[in-house]
């Protein structure tokens, strides 16, 4: 059992848990994820590691309420425990002194990008970060990302905070500008990563994305998370989750993410009605 040491409600429907998992904290690296299972009946779901503290023995996860499992997770408080917390899984993000790295975070992926931006900066890269959300109420960890970046650009789709627009706009401006950009890391909803990759492709800048297909075990035994990169089938859980954004078959990823839409709806409706009865 893995105790929740701290709970923070970052913005509506997005929560942060610090979970006691000392062995995982000791090994965690930027870009890796954990697979969690709330209880006996729960699903196994992957969540990216947003931080770790080896002294405290804790791993930080940030998640958004989407379906049954994340809604159930959001009912837990500090002091409650999660039954299973498996990791660190996936290959860590490749960190090297590239020169100037642009880190782009869409939505709640700002949590994932902070450890990566920090590691890139510690390796001697100049880090320019871009974070975007739909509106002001969904912006979080702005200070955290600023503290690990040389420059931070914040966008909101509706202009209710900072610069109005999508993250791809400042991204394009940077690529068109005078400064040479050596690498782009783009993490967020699949469609956002696709558009970031499309934006950088004409400029020939290597763009790493972190794919988020459906997973079950997370250790390479089932093939549920298979994606197509450069025409070759890969398992996102063991060959990724980082891949070259210009090589990813995005349509296949979107399609495979929809496999259980009906079941997810049915499960959530049933859970909701049971939950309403109880509360």
């Amino acid at each position: 059992m893995y105790k929740i040491l701290l709970r923070q409600d970052l913005v509506p429907n997005i929560h942060l848990f610090k979970v006691w998992a000392p062995a995982v904290a000791k090994k965690a690296q930027p870009g890796q994820f954990v697979v969690i299972r709330i209880d006996e009946r729960g699903e196994r779901i992957p969540l990216t590691i947003a931080g770790w503290d080896t002294e405290e023995g804790s791993v930080t996860i940030v998640f958004m309420e989407v379906g049954t499992t994340t809604h159930r997770l959001a009912l837990l408080e500090a002091g409650n425990s999660i039954t299973d917390f498996i990791g660190p899984l996936g290959l860590p993000t490749h960190i090297e002194k590239f020169g100037t790295v642009v880190c782009v975070a869409g939505g709640f992926a700002v949590a994932t990008i902070v450890p990566i931006a920090r590691a890139m900066r510690e390796k001697g890269n100049k880090v320019i970060s871009i974070m975007g959300a739909r509106n002001k109420s969904l912006i979080f960890w702005e200070d955290e990302l600023r503290s690990v970046s040389d420059q931070l650009i914040v966008t909101t789709d509706d202009g209710s905070y900072a610069r109005q627009g999508l993250v791809t706009e400042p991204l394009k401006e940077l690529l068109e500008g005078n400064e040479r950009i050596d690498r782009v890391i783009a993490i967020g909803p699949s469609i956002m990563m696709k558009f970031c990759a499309q934006t950088t492709e004409p400029f020939g800048v290597k763009t790493i994305v972190s794919l988020n297909p459906i997973m079950v075990d997370g250790t390479g035994m089932c093939g549920c998370c298979r994606v197509s990169v450069g025409g070759v089938t890969k398992f996102a859980c063991v060959d990724g989750p980082d891949f070259d954004g210009h090589q990813v078959d995005w349509d296949l990823l979107f399609a495979r993410q929809r496999i259980y839409l009906d079941e997810e709806k049915r499960s959530f409706e049933q859970w909701q009605s049971q939950h309403d009865i109880l509360s």
Binding site: K27, E43, D84, G87, T219, M221, T233, R258, Q270
Partner: protein, 465 residues
């Protein structure tokens, strides 16, 4: 010369129509009367060639005689002195190619139903004996610690034997439950999970510790284990990497590896969705590609989930199918259709990326290949389409490369298996042993157990030097 009784007691089974709609055990087990009747058929021949057929050398005639004598506790003691997982082996061992094939009565067409008797003894123990929390053997602790990677048949057996020899054994399991393929692969209706748990509980009652959620190679490496207090490591990580065909359309929605399908259904209990939150696709027309036990298991699960038509699609003919005869018969009785001498060429999908059909070749059999079975040859121009909405690829598995990738000094083959001595399980890397599917590629529960017993004995020798 006593008269030979060639009437094998049949195994009572659930009616096929009923059982194809539930996940309860198909084989119901012998009654006491049946067990005594079958046990009394054994002529207690001096050759006892049955033992030669057993990978773990169970004292078969002795435990059978104990059943006949009505001394069940003695039957339990004899059986468990060699086999720590009898409830499992009695259900899933292919006895027909092992002990029952070498039984003296085999040539008369009526070998003793050793497997069914083994199951009877194991089930009797569970129902009748007090919990086995205080093991009969209380060995002197050696002070040595062994890390066992994997809690499948090999790991459980190695850990149990090492504990009985006085060593401290800790099993590291990647999944959230122990049992390995026993828990994620073999379905509930062939191997109930409470039996697997009972056998795991027996192993832990010997003092073995089990660390779940521990992916060795990620959470901690083999070298870290050896540098942090473990005197030896046994690798029992199995063959859990699924093989795909590499044909067009294989990533369409609705196409599963058997591992994924079975893990959702068995480990995550998707057959109880949405009470259990993990879903699985229930197709109307399901095709399972393959002819082994995993293919039979997948097909029979798909049927029970509610598929209207389930096909086994296999490239050779029935006689070459590697699945247990018994499971092929069970599948046929349940209404699973066999499309033999058939191989998929490509999968057809709709504009939403869902599989809707499978284009197949007809095959014919030529000369035998390396496996000794007649080679399947494509009949050019024979393409035809089968309508399907779910496909399960059950063509076999190879070892997960994670251990090899994160462990220096381990010798591996092109197939990804770890090289280990056949008699001792010793691997090239110092202080490391290996056994089961990680060494042989996908094989059986009992062969994994046999290899684990040899390795545990060799580890014991090494630790006492």
């Amino acid at each position: 010369m006593p008269k030979l009784n060639l009437n094998r007691e049949p195994m009572p089974r659930q009616d096929p129509k009923l059982r194809s709609k539930n996940f309860n055990e198909v084989a119901l087990g012998y009654s006491a009367e049946q067990a005594e009747a079958e046990a009394s058929r054994c002529i207690l021949c001096p050759r006892h060639s049955c033992i030669d057929g057993c990978p773990v050398e169970v004292d078969i005639p002795d435990f059978i005689k104990a059943i006949g004598d009505g001394d069940m506790p003695e039957a339990v003691r004899i059986l468990k002195s060699k086999n720590s997982l009898p409830g499992i082996c009695g259900r899933v061992c292919p006895q027909e190619t092992q002990c029952e094939a070498t039984c003296s009565l085999a040539k008369k067409g009526a070998p003793i139903a050793i497997g069914r008797l083994e199951r009877y003894v194991a089930d009797w123990e569970r129902a009748n004996m007090e919990s086995t929390n205080s093991p009969i053997i209380q060995p002197t602790p050696s002070g040595k610690r062994v890390a066992v990677v994997g809690s499948g048949p090999a790991g459980l057996t190695a850990a149990a034997d090492l504990a009985k020899l006085g060593h401290s054994a800790t099993i590291f399991e990647a999944l959230h439950t122990a049992g390995g393929v026993l828990i994620y692969g073999i379905p509930e209706f062939r191997l109930p999970k409470d039996i697997v748990q009972a056998e795991v509980d027996y192993v832990t009652s010997l003092g073995v510790k089990v660390e779940l959620d521990s992916v060795i190679g990620k959470l901690v490496t083999i070298d870290e284990l050896l540098n942090n207090g473990y005197d030896a490591v046994f690798l029992g990580t199995g063959a859990g990497l699924p093989m795909f065909m590499g044909i067009p359309g294989e990533n369409l929605n609705g196409i599963y590896s058997a591992n994924e399908f079975l893990t959702r259904v068995n480990l995550m209990k998707a057959y109880q969705f949405p009470a259990y939150n993990t879903p699985v696709k229930v197709g109307k027309r399901v095709a399972v590609i393959g002819g082994g036990n995993v293919a039979m298991d997948s097909a029979r699960c798909a049927l029970r989930l509610g598929a209207e038509e389930v096909y086994i699609v296999y490239r050779r003919s029935e006689v070459e199918m590697p699945a247990r005869r018994e499971e092929v018969e069970n599948a046929k009785e349940e209404g699973i259709q066999f499309k033999l001498l058939t191989v998929p060429k490509r999968f057809l999908g709709n504009d939403q990326n869902w599989v809707v059909g499978m284009e197949c070749y007809e095959m014919e059999l030529g000369e035998p290949d390396e496996s000794g079975r007649r080679r399947p040859i494509v009949k050019e121009g024979s393409e035809f389409i089968i309508d399907v909405d779910v496909v399960i690829v059950a063509l076999g598995t190879t070892p997960n490369p994670l251990i090899a990738q994160t462990t220096g000094g381990l010798e591996t083959t092109k197939q990804g298996t770890v090289v280990a001595d056949e008699e001792t399980g010793k691997a090239a890397k110092p202080k490391v042993w290996a056994g089961g599917d990680i060494v042989t590629g996908a094989a059986t529960v009992i062969s994994a157990m046999g290899a684990a017993k040899l390795a545990a004995a060799d580890i014991d020798r090494y630790l006492r030097e």
